[in-house]
Structure formats: structure tokens, C-alpha cells
Amino acid sequence: MTMRRLLLGLAVALAAGPALAQQPAVPGWAVGRPEGSTLAPHAPRLTVTPPDQVPVGALRLPPGFQAEVFAHGIPGARMMAEGPNGTIFAGTRAIGRVYAISRNPDGTTRTRIIAQGLAQPNGLVMIGNSLYVLAVNRVLRYDNIEANLDNVPAPVELTQAFGLPTDADHGGNHSWKFAALGPDGRIYTNVGMNCNICETDRDRFALLVSFNPDGSDRRIEARGVRNSVGMAHHPVTRELWATNNGRDWAGNDWPNDTLHRVRRMGEDHGFPFCSSGSADPQFNAGRNCSEFVQPAALLGPHVASLGMRFYTGTMFPEAYRNQIFIARRGSWNRERLTGYDVVVAHLDAQGNVTRLEEFMTGLRDDANQRFLDRPVDVHVMRDGSLLVSGEQMGAIYRITYRR
């Protein structure tokens, strides 16, 4: 019912706004596609993958690391958050569900669907005993959730308080959310670009923003970040870091997806004028890219760098402490596949990225140009193991280390 209202709103907004109505009817993802190109987003898989088809055996890791299937049968699993009692919550996009995954004493897991029918409930954040779900233009708070997994009470509606742009405001582009809890107790999220690339209101779109948990006091943390679907605060410096998805249809190798370090609130990272540190061929508008904050690292062209976390556990070797694990969901806007892996951005003492390490590979089959799964998020568990969500196969992998 709410979806229907939302859609009616979308239609009204689209019909009412003359500027919007004049936009070409081409789907957002295809705007700018060169004639003759057949590149298009890969189809999602929204049905259960039998456990024997979950490609855990294909995963490749550095020496000493092992991968196992933590949970499976969770179609579309994406962003993860952990409750105080150890429940792993997973958001989704098209299938509209939020999952709760709890561990049985024998090490197996039990998965419940705690919410469904939502518009792309991708952003999850846990504050105390409350789970916040950020869907498209909708924010819901599930209080005391872990005590009520079998009988989930109606959530507290915070949609109006947050006042996030609607899917129509976004023109259907980049309207889904990532959410993180800051060390200051605020909820950090993205407001993605309302197109692939265009002139836009730079106080409304391509932002990192934060709110009080009740939705008040919206603050722009960074401008000119095209679409971040992954962010985390450095455990020592408390600085905000974010991954970013670069624009499409500007070639196989430009721009790169990027990692961003936000040192001052509200600083400008340059989109749409500049991407991955250099001028956009169409939308530069005469701006000098050196006037903007430079990316902290280039993460590869079209790799879809999404969920990121600093490694704060003790299970992994010391060299990984406070380094950034990044899930790269994998490319569609490129003739040869890139990404489909987890990388580590290694930082020096000043917080400069010194190198990118390919950490979890094996899901991209270069010879046959196929992929086996699409990693979307990473999560450091309290025992120091690392969870990786695989959206395409509806599985969560767990990575451990033994000396």
C-alpha cells in the first residue's frame, strides 16, 4: 500500500515537472550509451541457490586464510549489520527483504525474514538494541529487534523526519541507501547522483550526509561524491572514509571507482566536474580538478566498489589491523569484467593509501568472462572473522585465519 502511494507520488511528480517530463525515456543506466554497445546491467538472481552451487570452493585467499559458507538461501543479501547479541542483519534491493541470521549452538545458522515488501531496503544500521532500515525514501526503526525476531513488532516510522529524496526526485537513479553509525552517534548515509552524470543541485545530490538518529539536524559531510554505497569511520582518527562508484559510458578504463577520505566537514570531492582526479570530458565546466579533494585511492574502472570496513579484530595478522576491506561487486559497464572480489587498501601512519591488495578472488573467470558471485559488503565479527555477502548467490561467506 505504501509502495503504491510512493509510486503514485512518483508518477505525479514525473508528470507534473516539465523538466523531468522532457527527459528522454531512455532508462537511466543507458543514458550516454554509445550506439552499438550491448553492455547492460547483469540480471539479479532472486531465488534460493542450492547450497551445493554456492561457489565457496572457488574462493582464493592469502596463505593461512580459509573461507566457509556462513549462511545461504538468502536471495539478494547485501549490506550487513550486527546486533549486540550477534544476530547478523542483511538488507537487499529488488527483493525488498531484510533478513536476520542467527547462529545455532552447532554452528549452523537460522535465517528469518523480518521485513519484506520494502523499496530496496539496502541501508542497515544498529544503534543499541534498535535496527534502523533505510529503504528508498523510507526510514524505519525496529526497537529491541533481537528479542522479537519471531514476532517483529511494527517499526517506528522515521521517514518524514529524515526527509530523504524520493525515487522520483532521483529520476530513478542511485536512490538506494547505505547507512553507517558514526563514532559521534549519528547516522551517516549517501544521497546518490540523480543521473549517470548531469548538471545537478550539488546541495541535494551526490552527497555524504549525516543525521541524528531521530532524523533531525541533517549535515552535509561531503559534496561531489557520485554514489557511495559503503562508508566507515577510521577506528583511530575517526575520519569518515567512503567508497564511490564512478560514472558510466566514458570508456572501459576511465574513470576509476574511488576511495574517499573526508577530513573536513562539507568539503568538495568534485563530481560531476571531475572523476578519479581528472576532468570529465563532458561536464568539467572549466573547473580545475586540483581545487577539489583528491581521491584517497583509485579502486579500478567500473568495479562497483561498495561495502567497506576497517579491520578492527585480532584474528587476522597484525598487518591487517585498521586497514580497509572493500567489496567490489563487479563491472557491467566494461567490455571485460573487473572486480568481483574483496581488496584491502593498506594505509601508512599518515593515513595515505600505500597499496591495494587483492584479498578474496576466484569469483571472476577471466578466460570465459563469467562471474560466480558478486560480493557487496564485508563485516568484521567480534571474533575477528570477516563476513562477505554474495548478492548473486544469496550467501554469506566467513573468512577466518589460522597461524
Binding site: 509502495m3 508518477a11 517530463a21 540480471a43 532472486l46 529488488a94 567490455e335 571485460r336 568472462q369
Partner: protein, 196 residues
């Protein structure tokens, strides 16, 4: 075709998950006889103007739509009870079955109106239908085949997308329908229904 196009086409065809799910079309046939054929026709060819034929439809599209209906994201009152609680395996098997059937135009197709069809055809290019549905308009994966379908159904689907009463996995079709008049939609539906 330039080599680049061939490469891109090869990439599109190949870049699918390695482990294809093992759908069982034969099992799907049994399920369809019980649950689908009364409305969608014994051979996936609907005899009811407002209900789509499913013969030859893309398996990915049928699967996606069934899940959107089951999950309460797409609202189709007549389908709600059928979809409620349907296991993924049943959905995949049904989709494999319908995809395996040869597509055919509706038997009760009304006579082709040349003026109406050409008005519809004139909208296909500007509306960029072929970007997603492919130039043949026979679809791919989760994007449906839209040719030789029931005209009434096509018109209703497009109207629902335009008016925000239907949604797919995203809002792309809603955007694609913006600004079309009822007459435009009628012309498109007529053209598509008559294209084989």
C-alpha cells in the same frame, strides 16, 4: 557488425553466473496445469484478452515478476493467492516450462489497423524500447518479450507503469512511459500485438 560489437555481444551473452540453476521444465508443466492454465491457457497461450500469454516468455522475467508479486512489491489481486508462499523452486520450474514453449500470437487478434500500427511503430525508436527489450523486442533475462502479446494486456501494463500502479525491480519502465497519452499507448499496444 564491427569486431567491437561482436565482443560486446559475446560479453553480454557470457557474463552470467557460472552455475546455472537446475530448473525442471517438466515439473513446471505439472505445476502449470494445476495453477496457471485456467487463466494463462493450456499451452501458455492465454485466451483472455487482458491476461498475458506466457509461452516463450523470458524465464528470468517470469521468475522476477512472480517474486515481486509474492513479496508484495507488485500488486496483482488475481495473482496474490497463487503466488503466496510459492517456493522458489516452483517459480523457477514454472518459468523454465513457459520459456520452453513456442511463442505464438493470440488467436483472437483483431485485424491490423495499418495507421494505428504505424503510429505505434513510430514510437518504438524514440522511446528506445530496444535498449532493454533488444531490437527484436523479444527481451533478455529479466526483460520481457513484448511482441505478439495480447493487445489489451499490453495496453494495461503500459498504462499501469505510466500511472505508477506497477513497478518492476526498478522504476525504469515508469520512466520510459512518462508523457505517453492513452492514444500513444493504444498505438504501441496494437503495433506490438501484431509484430511477430
Amino acid at each position: 557488425m564491427r569486431p567491437g560489437h561482436l565482443l560486446a555481444a559475446a560479453v553480454l551473452a557470457a557474463a552470467l553466473p557460472h552455475t546455472a540453476p537446475a530448473q525442471d521444465a517438466a515439473r513446471g508443466a505439472g505445476l502449470a496445469a494445476d495453477r496457471c492454465s485456467a487463466c494463462h491457457g493450456a499451452d501458455g497461450r492465454s485466451q483472455i484478452p487482458d491476461i498475458p500469454s506466457l509461452a516463450g516468455q523470458q524465464a528470468g522475467f517470469i521468475t522476477l515478476q512472480m517474486i515481486l508479486i509474492r513479496e508484495g512489491i507488485r500488486h496483482v489481486p488475481a495473482m496474490a493467492a497463487v503466488a503466496q508462499g510459492m517456493p522458489d523452486r516452483d517459480i523457477e520450474d514454472l518459468a523454465a516450462y513457459f520459456a520452453s514453449l513456442p511463442p505464438a500470437p493470440p488467436e483472437d487478434r483483431r485485424p491490423r489497423d495499418a495507421a494505428l500500427a504505424s503510429a505505434g511503430e513510430a514510437l518504438i525508436g524514440p522511446r528506445l524500447c530496444g535498449v532493454c527489450h533488444l531490437p527484436s523486442l523479444t527481451g533478455r533475462d529479466q526483460i520481457p518479450r513484448i511482441v505478439a502479446q495480447h493487445e489489451d494486456y499490453l495496453a494495461r501494463a503500459m498504462t499501469e507503469y505510466r500511472d505508477g500502479r506497477r513497478v518492476g525491480a526498478d522504476a525504469q519502465m515508469n520512466g520510459a512511459m512518462v508523457g505517453l497519452s492513452d492514444a500513444d499507448i493504444a498505438a504501441l499496444a496494437h503495433y506490438l500485438a501484431h509484430r511477430d
